[in-house]
Every structure is written in structure tokens, then in C-alpha cells.
């Protein structure tokens, strides 16, 4: 039996693995990794694309994205709500989907998202009809505020972008998961397939991976490894993992006398 599909804003996806498109050694390697991963959603930084509509051959990253995957433009580079909103509008004007991965990180050093500006931008973009997937720190209250304004998902970070530290925010993500009314996508910091599996085992609806695949010596093969880990983690979650326990189950139970 296969895993249940992922549904975001009424659209259904078989794959629960999203891919980022930065940091690859070439467009061809990126395309091969996208195909191998089985992903149906890839995100692209708008600042690296040609927004003029003139087909700039020196900014042609979109040419390497297979046509059957959903292009999720992201607003990386924006430092405040106004800039992010402007980028999202331009993406639609340039013929891209009205789905947007809302990323506002004014601190270029750790690329941590600005919660205040993200909430502001989300409100505006949702009202304008965008399908908004906001990248946030693993803040359960912010996640609730965003789903209240109508975002399609929340995307808490596992750890800082590119850090490969895994789910250092796991306890916070678990709170977000218990409260979520929209899909929760764990984004950033996933450096190994085991991290992705862990996210699914605790109930994440999807994960987004970029650096770990992009900088691997064989990106397509690493993408395959992540695909398998995502499917395994999700399957385990759907089947129901048995809780780990620190003690062996007693062969001579201590409370059977109560029922004798």
C-alpha cells in the first residue's frame, strides 16, 4: 500500500519531497536530481531568474526544470514584506504560478526568517489570491498566526539553511504539528536522509531539501536516497510507530494481582 497523497491548497501530490534549486554545479545535474527525487514541487529564487520575460540565456535556471513539476517561486533576497510582495507579483506577471514560497530573511548571515515581516506579507499575498507557503522559524504561535491568515502551509526550519544539523528544533516542530490545520513542511537544515525520515516519523507532511542534494558528489543518486528516506519515514508514520521505551516489558507484571 502506498503512502497517502499530500494535499496543498486543494492540489494533490504523490511525492512529499520538495526540492530547492540553488547550489547545484550545473543545470543538467539539477534537472537529473529533480527527476531522480520524484519531486513534484521545486522552489526557485526569483532573483536568479529572468523576470524581464526576454529569455536571458545567462539567467536560464528555469529552463532546467522539467515541465511536469510545480514551480514554487521564492522571495529569497527580500528583506521586508514590501519587497517580498513585489517579487511575488512580478513572478505572476512573468508567467509563473501564483504559488509563492515566502522567504524574508533580513539577516544574510544565518538566513533566519523575519517573523513580523513574514506575517505582514502573508496577509497581503493571501488577500491577493496567492497560495502562500511561508518559511518560518519553528515558532508555534507564529505558525498559528499564519494559518489564521490563510497560508496554505507552514514551513518551519529544522535548523539554519545549509547547516546540515537536522531537526535541532524538533520539540518546537512537534508542537506545531499538534496544532496545525494546514500541511507542515520541514524546510532547511536537513542534511541527511535520516533527518528527512525523522521529520516524517514525527508527523511532518513534507520536507524541503536543497543543499544536501545539490552539493553531493552524485546529486541524482543522493536525491534517490532522500526519496527512499521520505517514503520510509512517511510509511512508518502512517502505520504507527511503537513508542520507544527505556525498560524491557516485564515478564512478571507488577499489577496482575489487581485482577486476580
Amino acid at each position: 500500500m502506498s503512502n497517502s497523497p499530500l494535499t496543498i491548497a486543494g492540489r494533490s501530490f504523490q511525492s512529499r519531497l520538495m526540492l530547492g534549486t540553488g547550489k547545484f554545479a550545473s543545470g543538467d545535474l539539477m534537472r537529473d536530481a529533480i527527476i531522480a527525487s520524484g519531486t513534484e514541487i521545486v522552489t526557485v529564487a526569483l532573483r536568479r531568474t529572468d523576470l524581464s520575460g526576454q529569455g536571458d540565456p545567462f539567467a536560464n535556471i528555469l529552463d532546467f526544470i522539467p515541465p511536469n513539476v510545480l514551480l514554487l517561486p521564492n522571495t529569497s533576497g527580500a528583506m521586508n514584506a514590501e519587497e517580498a510582495v513585489r517579487l511575488a507579483r512580478l513572478a505572476v506577471a512573468a508567467g509563473m504560478p501564483n504559488w509563492v514560497k515566502l522567504e524574508i530573511h533580513p539577516d544574510p548571515r544565518y538566513l533566519l526568517p523575519d517573523p513580523i515581516e513574514t506575517l505582514k506579507a502573508a496577509e497581503i499575498l493571501v488577500k491577493e489570491g496567492f497560495i502562500v507557503l511561508p518559511y518560518i522559524n519553528a515558532d508555534p504561535v507564529l505558525a498559528r498566526r499564519l494559518q489564521d491568515v490563510g497560508t496554505a502551509t507552514v514551513m518551519p526550519l529544522g535548523s539554519p539553511i545549509g547547516s546540515h544539523q537536522g531537526l535541532t528544533t524538533r520539540r518546537q516542530i512537534e508542537i506545531i504539528l499538534t496544532q496545525a490545520t494546514v500541511p507542515v513542511v520541514v524546510d532547511a537544515g536537513i542534511g541527511a536522509p535520516s533527518h528527512a525520515a525523522e521529520a516524517f516519523e514525527i508527523g511532518a507532511d513534507a520536507v524541503l531539501v536543497n543543499t544536501a542534494i545539490a552539493i553531493a558528489s552524485d546529486p541524482a543518486r543522493m536525491a534517490t536516497a532522500f526519496k527512499a528516506a521520505c517514503e520510509a519515514g512517511r510509511a512508518a508514520y502512517e502505520i504507527g510507530l511503537t513508542e520507544a521505551t527505556s525498560e524491557a516489558t516485564a515478564t512478571s507484571p507488577l499489577t496482575t494481582f489487581l485482577y486476580q
Partner: protein, 378 residues
């Protein structure tokens, strides 16, 4: 907001005896290393760079708009007392040069000029920026220091990056090197990055010219400056550069050694200390060295550069003149094929396409466009 009154001065003047914990670690990385220790540093530097920047290399080109200058800097070809052929490009000529670079692939252009208020006014620079902003996604400037409100005008015109090198962080050497002009004021130059940040620049490049002072001390002071700026200008992206002196008009010779192994050690020490900092390597370095260090931590490279105004297309060659005491002096007879004097000779003369191909063969994706002006456009 940064404190422009004292800024980095107290911390700088306390070096090298008083260091932050981070600078203690940085200084230790600069201690003499065995070849195997240096190899380990280089490997770690490469791994950190890949995590933060991936297998990519940003490319840019300098566009020199003027070689007029009021300063005398002993190492620089543009020094006012050098009897060199000078010109300042007209706005149309700037457009011609920029279009040439865009046709080569560049989407990130650094406008460079000597410091001369008469020939290179802030109004002129603003006009240059406005003239190319419609077809150049990323524009930076490397020009004489300005006040924050002037920087703000440059940002409003469409510039997004500011480059200003301190040249040397050694006050004594600085005083000997800079004998005339406003550049004599060390502290005024030192606070440029903060003024640029207040003016709204998002990308700020700092650096020192290596070959003027002891390289370990120079690198330590540069690193401390970066540490200071990260704290006080938290929304800016920073780059550092370690340019080595190149032959230039005036015939200056480096005062200190900065051999290849020292440059590699410096580069790795910066990467290990500042995983997120952009590291620039220009065409001052020869092709073989650039290829060798490209994967080790460098994130931004120029290619096919010219350091003379009009260098790409010959623009401005009909206007060549001397400048004596701030006044234009016409040439009695202009030599055929004459070009304006460059700031320094470049060492890697490969074309941008050749450099891009070489990067690909090294497993690095050349990234031409990494910014869109519409992010800022009101």
C-alpha cells in the same frame, strides 16, 4: 544603527594585544602551519563553502568610468602626480561599455572611479547608475568615500553594492602611502562601510591591499573589522578581498611578502571564521592560481577585466589628456591607439567565457545573475 563617532576605531587600536574570543581563534589559524595542517584548513574551507554557497561561483566585472584622482597613493597608477593619460567617460560611453559587458554575460557590474570631485561628482555617478540600471540587474560602486546621505542617493539611483577597501589597517604605513588628498584621513575611510550601510547598501565589500604591511596583522585587523561590521550592520551581506599589489604606473614595489601559501591560509582562516562571508578574487591573480583556489572558498570572481576607463570598447580614447594640479592639459600630439592608463596590470587575461568554461570543468556553476533590481524598485 552603527555608531559613527567611534565605530571600529577603539577595537582596531587595541589590536593585536586585545582580541575577542573569535579573533583569538582567527589569529591562531594564521599561526605558521605545516603543509599538512594547511591542507586540512583548505579542505575544511572547501566543505564550509560548499554548504553555504554550493557548487557555484558568482561572476562580476569592474567598469572603470574615470581615472582622474586627487589623491596620491604610492601604489596606485591613478595617483594625481603620475603623468598618465586620463579620461572620464561620458554617460553614453558608460552605457557602451556596460552593454559590452552585458553581451559577455555579466549581470553584476562594479562601477569604479578615482576620487576627483570635479570630474567624478556624486551627480555624475548617480547619472552613470541610472543610465545602466534598466539593463544591468546588479550595480555596485567602488569610488571615493561619501557621507551617508550621498550614499543613499546612490542606492536610490539603483546601486546595491558598495566596495571600499581600507588598503592597509596599519596607521603608520597608511600615512606613508597616502601623501596627498582626502584619502589621507584614515578614520574617515574606516567608517565608510557603516556610512554606506546607513545609506542603504545591502552588499558591502571590504578588503586590504596585501604587500604593504605584515600579512598576519593585516588579515587580523581586516577580520576584526568584519566582526565589527557583522555586529553593527546586521542586514548587510559582506564580502572580503585580499588583493595583492600588482605592477602599476609609478613603479611601486611591495613592502612586504604575501606568498601564495599565505594567501591560501588567509582565505581559509576567513572561511573557517566567517562561514557566510563572500570572498572575492579578482583578475589581479594569475589564471593558474585563480583556478587552484576557486574551489577552496572563493565565491565571487571577476573575469576579462580592464582597469582603464574605456578598456572594453575603446570608449573615451578621443578625449585623452593629462591632468596637472586638477586642470586638464591637452596633449601636443596624441599617440595612435592610445588608451587611458589602467589602475594596475591584470594577471588573468582570459575572456569571461573561457573563465566560465574553466569553472564548469572545476565543477562550479558560474552564476551571472543573483539579484533582481525589482526587489528594491519602488
Amino acid at each position: 544603527m552603527p555608531d559613527l563617532q567611534t565605530g571600529f576605531i577603539p577595537a582596531l587600536d587595541a589590536l593585536p594585544s586585545r582580541k575577542s574570543p573569535l579573533m583569538e581563534r582567527f589569529a591562531a589559524l594564521l599561526d605558521p602551519k605545516s603543509p599538512s595542517q594547511l591542507e586540512a584548513m583548505a579542505r575544511e574551507s572547501r566543505a564550509i563553502t560548499r554548504r553555504n554557497f554550493g557548487r557555484t561561483m558568482r561572476l562580476f566585472a569592474p567598469l572603470y568610468v574615470s581615472n582622474e584622482c586627487v589623491n596620491n597613493c604610492q601604489y596606485c597608477g591613478f595617483s594625481r602626480d603620475n603623468p598618465i593619460l586620463r579620461t572620464t567617460l561620458t554617460i553614453d560611453q558608460v552605457i557602451t561599455e556596460a552593454r559590452h559587458l552585458v553581451a559577455q554575460g555579466f549581470r553584476n557590474i562594479l562601477l569604479v572611479a578615482g576620487e576627483h570631485p570635479r570630474f567624478v561628482s556624486d551627480g555624475y555617478l548617480e547619472a552613470c547608475i541610472r543610465a545602466i540600471r534598466s539593463f544591468v540587474p546588479t550595480i555596485g560602486i567602488e569610488v571615493g568615500p561619501m557621507e551617508a546621505p550621498e550614499y543613499q542617493r546612490m542606492v536610490e539611483a539603483g546601486a546595491e553594492g558598495l566596495v571600499v577597501y581600507q588598503e592597509t589597517y596599519d596607521r603608520d604605513v597608511y600615512a606613508v602611502m597616502h601623501t596627498a588628498g582626502p584619502k589621507k584621513d584614515f578614520d574617515w575611510r574606516l567608517a565608510c562601510p557603516e556610512r554606506g550601510y546607513l545609506g542603504g547598501f545591502r552588499r558591502i565589500g571590504i578588503g586590504a591591499l596585501f604587500g604593504l604591511s605584515d600579512w598576519r596583522l593585516e588579515a587580523l585587523r581586516l577580520a576584526a573589522h568584519l566582526e565589527h561590521l557583522y555586529k553593527h550592520c546586521w542586514k548587510a551581506t559582506f564580502t572580503v578581498a585580499f588583493p595583492r599589489l600588482r605592477p602599476a604606473a609609478g613603479g611601486f614595489h611591495p613592502l612586504t611578502d604575501f606568498p601564495d601559501h599565505a594567501l591560501v591560509q588567509t582565505l581559509a582562516a576567513f572561511r573557517l571564521t566567517f562561514p557566510e562571508v563572500g570572498i572575492v578574487m579578482s583578475t589581479r591573480e594569475p589564471a593558474a592560481f585563480r583556478d587552484a583556489v576557486a574551489p577552496l572558498g572563493v565565491t565571487i570572481m571577476s573575469a576579462g577585466s580592464h582597469t582603464e576607463p574605456g578598456g572594453y570598447t575603446g570608449a573615451g580614447s578621443d578625449d585623452l589628456h593629462l591632468t596637472v594640479k586638477g586642470r586638464r592639459v591637452e596633449l601636443d600630439d596624441k599617440p595612435d591607439q592610445a588608451r587611458a592608463e589602467g589602475q594596475f596590470g591584470i594577471a588573468d587575461e582570459r575572456s569571461p567565457a573561457t573563465v566560465a568554461d574553466r569553472l564548469r570543468s572545476l565543477g562550479l556553476d558560474p552564476v551571472w545573475k543573483d539579484w533582481d533590481p525589482s526587489i528594491l524598485a519602488a
